[in-house]
């Protein structure tokens, strides 16, 4: 028995967990129960296999195959193991969440389909990460891409979901096409389809095209700006536990692919590190700024995924620059931080999507400005969302802080090495960029958390009958909140694991001195939390009994929930500063007279700047240009025969030498 065999068992169980339900009738609770049990069992075994891979030696298995390549190879090493842990943990918890959130009894029309593809995505993600050659990789990649399309369009009657699904499908296949080109060049450079470290690749003239194609193909999957066009709508349209899986795990497939290509390189060119840092900073800053402008809760969370992918890229870039400079001490900090952020983002982003799903389920809307005052009635969900919000902002004492701390420390370490070339400067830019991203994320999540959960209800839906999440949803949220807390309070454990995974990325291995900083954060976050708890207890004791009255209103005694600051007004200053990037759509009605007519409402929307402002207009202009060709393409067979005759005559004349 090897870790690979265990993984095969797990991914088989998970991939087919939804199929038995197809034999039962729609709306059957048994179908759902069977799927969940199989899925959770598979994920538990899979987590074990991933942990085994992370702890043990690499395992490789090769099978003869009649299709191109002649054989198919699977390989499970520490890097794969590291990426597989969040796949199984998040997917397993998501399936428990789905019990309550997408109950078969309430969704007889599409519940079985959802569970089939949910299992299939998870199982084939394992295939991608255990792939030892290009064919296995692309096969897994394609199944994930297609199954994700059916997950996004779970509600096949929702026009928005269908539009998001088609855009996703086109983008995913453009990405696959780029990857075909990338793997073909990679084979020319390394001499085979196998994904193994290759010295020949480092000196190959094809290195640069391979890396550029890898950045484009994997970047498209990961949602790097400006290749993120498919992401916000797709993640917003899917059911929430699917959004969590897509955002928290499936996006990381792009990061995994990139990291796997880096792992194959014998050395990193300096431009690669600079490109990663630059892409990371632009995705990070623009991602959070675009998130700030949103007032659809799930779109907001989706844009934050772009931001977090940016943070991961900054970490990988700092690592690559460190290796290029021959400074392994900060290289390992960058890589370990970037990789740990893969775990952290999977935990807190999935947690946020679960909590958002519960809120949307209860209020029946995704509009932040129609919520408000939910913490009183959704205490558990509110607390869970708060944990996720603090974690995603990279604030102590939770897990986001740990990974961002590692990356920033890598930036600081870069400056302690002598010299001052552009590589050092590029790595050093990571820390202030992370600070800006983190501070903007604080602005965004203060907005999202407060407008949704605090204050008074802003609409009838939020004021009405709102209940807290069901027990199965609480289990899923509790599990992820616990993960955020454990990594935050016990950073040395998680950093040790991410360092093990990062070792493969540092050619020549990690030295003894390198990464000595990684344990120093120690129990300090725990200390901080203990201190906070004592202070909070003191204040609670001090302020009791309290007199409850109304909010200070300057003596205006007819306040209503509508006077509260809205999500848009809260973000207005920052969105204004970044107007050049957000390009918001504003409807300003012309006001006249002391009492303007009813319906004169100011509205602002933030469509995606790349997709809605640039790509779709360009495509529709292209289509109308091509429409000119329709005149010769009338569909009448006689006309086509005429074209053929004329062409033949011209060719004959030409060959006769006229």
């Amino acid at each position: 028995m090897t870790s690979l065999a265990l993984l095969a068992l797990a991914s088989g169980l998970v991939a087919f967990s939804g199929f038995p339900g197809l034999l039962l009738r729609a709306g059957s609770g048994t179908a759902q129960r069977i799927a969940t049990v199989l899925h959770v069992l598979g994920c538990a075994i899979g987590t074990g296999a991933a942990a085994w891979a992370l702890a043990g030696e690499a395992v490789t298995a090769r099978f003869a195959w009649t299709l191109p390549g002649g054989s198919v190879t699977f390989s499970l090493d520490r890097l794969s193991g590291f990426f597989l842990v969040p796949v199984f943990v998040v997917s397993g918890l998501g399936s428990i969440y789905g019990e309550g959130y997408w109950a078969e009894s309430r969704h007889p029309g599409n519940g079985r389909k959802l569970r089939v593809f949910y299992g299939l995505v998870t199982g084939s993600l394992a295939l991608v990460m255990a792939a030892g050659d290009a064919w296995a990789f692309l096969a897994g990649w394609e199944i994930v891409s297609l199954a994700a399309f059916f997950l996004i369009t779970t509600d096949q009657n929702d026009e928005r979901a269908l539009r998001a699904g088609w855009i996703y499908l086109v983008a995913a296949h453009a990405g696959t096409l780029i990857l075909f080109a990338m793997f073909t060049l990679l084979r020319d450079a390394t001499g085979g389809w196998l994904l193994v470290p290759s010295a020949a690749l480092g000196s190959s003239a094809l290195l640069r095209p391979v890396l550029v194609l890898a950045l484009a193909g994997f970047g498209l999957k990961a949602g790097v700006i400006p290749l993120h066009i498919w992401l916000p709508d797709a993640h917003a349209a899917a059911p929430s536990h699917v959004s969590a899986l897509l955002s928290g795990v499936v996006l990381k497939m792009g990061i995994y692919g990139l990291v796997r290509v880096l792992w194959m390189l014998p050395a990193y060119p300096a431009w690669l590190g600079l490109a990663l840092v630059a892409l990371g900073i632009s995705s990070g800053v623009l991602g959070v700024v675009l998130a700030l402008a949103q007032h659809d809760l799930k779109r907001l969370l989706a844009y934050h995924s772009i931001e977090n992918i940016g943070i991961i890229l900054i970490g990988l870039g700092v690592g690559a620059l460190g290796v290029a400079q021959g400074r392994l001490d900060w290289a390992v900090l960058g890589f370990a931080g970037g990789l740990l952020h893969v775990w952290n983002h999977a935990a807190f982003k999935s947690l946020l999507f679960y909590a958002a799903g519960a809120v949307i389920h209860e209020t029946g809307t995704r509009e932040i400005d129609a919520m408000g005052g939910l913490l009183r009635r959704m205490r558990f969900t509110g607390a869970a969302f708060l944990v996720g919000a603090v974690a995603i902002c990279g604030l102590p004492p939770l897990n986001g802080f740990v990974s961002e701390w590692l990356i920033s420390l890598g930036s600081f370490r870069a400056l302690t090495s002598g010299g001052g070339d552009v590589g050092i400067l590029g790595a050093a830019a990571g820390a202030p960029a992370l600070a800006l991203i983190g501070a903007l994320a604080v602005a965004c999540f203060v907005k999202a958390y407060s407008v949704v959960f605090l204050g008074s209800p802003r609409s009838a839906g939020a004021a009405g009958d709102v209940a807290d999440a069901s027990p199965s949803m609480r289990v899923a949220m509790g599990g992820l909140a616990l993960a955020c807390a454990v990594i935050g309070f016990w950073p040395s454990g998680a950093t040790r694991l991410s360092r093990i995974a990062a070792e493969g990325l540092v050619p020549g291995g990690v030295g003894t001195r390198a990464g000595a900083d990684m344990g120093t954060l120690g129990g300090i976050p725990l200390l901080l939390l203990g201190f906070l708890a004592v202070l909070m207890a003191a204040v609670l004791a001090w302020t009791r009994p309290a007199i409850r009255t109304t909010t200070w209103d300057c003596g205006y005694a007819a306040g209503s929930p509508r006077i509260q600051y809205t999500a848009s007004s809260f973000a207005q200053m920052l969105v204004g500063l970044f107007r050049w990037a957000v390009m918001p759509d504003e409807h300003r009605p012309r006001l006249s007279g002391p009492f303007p007519a009813a319906g004169s409402r100011f509205e602002s929307h933030a469509p995606d700047p790349v997709l809605d402002r640039f790509l779709l207009p360009a495509l529709s202009r292209g289509r109308s240009l091509l429409g000119l060709a329709r005149a010769i393409q009338a569909g009448r067979i006689q006309t086509y025969l005429l074209y053929i005759v004329v062409t033949l005559l011209i060719l004959l004349a030409w060959s006769a030498g006229w």
Partner: protein
């Protein structure tokens, strides 16, 4: 260790005095007598004895705001070298915890403001998170420059420029960092030209309007947190400005305390000599601070 703890205790006790120094400076410049130097202590004593009134729309988040707003500057003070003594808590990368602690405070104070459902407090919270987001990179750039100069990854190490050659080699960079951090100090502590603590119109406030609904002991916590935060940011500047030690713990502490009072006087003078900027101008000043610190980093890269 003992003298570090003693200095921390001194800062914790003396922090509210700095508010008094600023107000006294302003009243002297304006030709008034002004409130007593110890006014902040009187206010604290009064607030902590008062009962607690709370808005009916609020939740436990409303109480978490004051708590974290005291905890954050306290943690920051633990990480700072005070009065020439090393910090009580110093570890590689502690400067990032310093920044993170204030981020946590900003999160909870702003959320507590929005918890009341008051449009005024929403306004203040929006301004606070906006200005701080722009101030944070300036702080980080300054830290990067100092890391390069000192070769140290702790606050204790990077703020200690006693290796006097640092001032000789890179005085321009240090001055740029000082200028940038002074702007950050004014922004983070809600002083003129970013905010006017004396204004009586809710619409024009930043920090003050966020805590409008906090009363009694909770407001006492906020007030003390404000004082401690001011002391912490002034410590950054004083420690950079005093690159020597006398050898006597008492004398070093006296020099440090005089430095804090001196910076407070400067803050008071700034406040007396100019008006609050229009809110649209504020981001420009903060970007300037970031650029100053960014220049400092570029300059230190050329230092051998």
């Amino acid at each position: 260790m003992v003298s570090s703890a003693a200095n921390l205790a001194a800062v914790l006790v003396l922090a509210p005095l700095l508010l008094g120094v600023i107000n006294r400076t302003k009243s002297l410049v304006a030709g008034r007598t002004g409130p007593p130097l110890l006014q902040a202590y009187f206010d604290l004593a009064k607030l902590l004895r008062k009962g607690f009134v709370v808005s009916g729309t609020t939740t436990w988040i409303f109480l978490a705001g004051p708590v974290v707003s005291v905890a954050a500057p306290f943690v920051a003070a633990l990480l700072l070298p005070l009065g020439g003594r090393p910090a009580l808590l110093s570890f590689t990368g502690d400067m990032l915890l310093f920044v993170g602690a204030f981020g946590l405070a900003r999160f909870f104070v702003s959320a507590a403001a929005l918890d009341t459902g008051s449009p005024f407090e929403g306004m203040g919270a929006a301004r606070e998170v906006t200005f701080s987001a722009l101030a944070e990179p300036a702080l980080l750039f300054g830290m990067l420059a100092l890391t390069r100069l000192s070769g140290s990854l702790t606050l204790t190490g990077m703020l200690d420029l006693r290796a006097a050659s640092a001032w000789q080699k890179a005085s321009a960079s240090i001055v740029l960092v000082l200028a940038s951090w002074f702007i950050v100090l004014l922004a983070e502590n809600a002083r003129v030209p970013f905010d006017d603590p004396n204004t009586h119109l809710e619409l024009t406030m930043v920090h003050e309007v966020m805590v409008l609904d906090h009363a009694g002991p909770a407001f006492g916590f906020i007030l003390y947190g404000t004082a401690l935060k001011l002391a912490v940011f002034e410590t950054l500047i004083v420690t950079l400005l005093v690159p020597f030690r006398s050898g006597s713990a008492a004398l070093d502490l006296a020099v440090f305390a005089a430095g804090l009072v001196g910076v407070s006087v400067v803050v008071g003078l700034v406040e007396s000599s100019m008006a609050r900027l229009r809110f649209v101008r504020v981001p420009q000043l903060l970007v300037t601070a970031t650029l100053l610190a960014g220049f400092a980093v570029v300059l230190v890269l050329r230092v051998p």
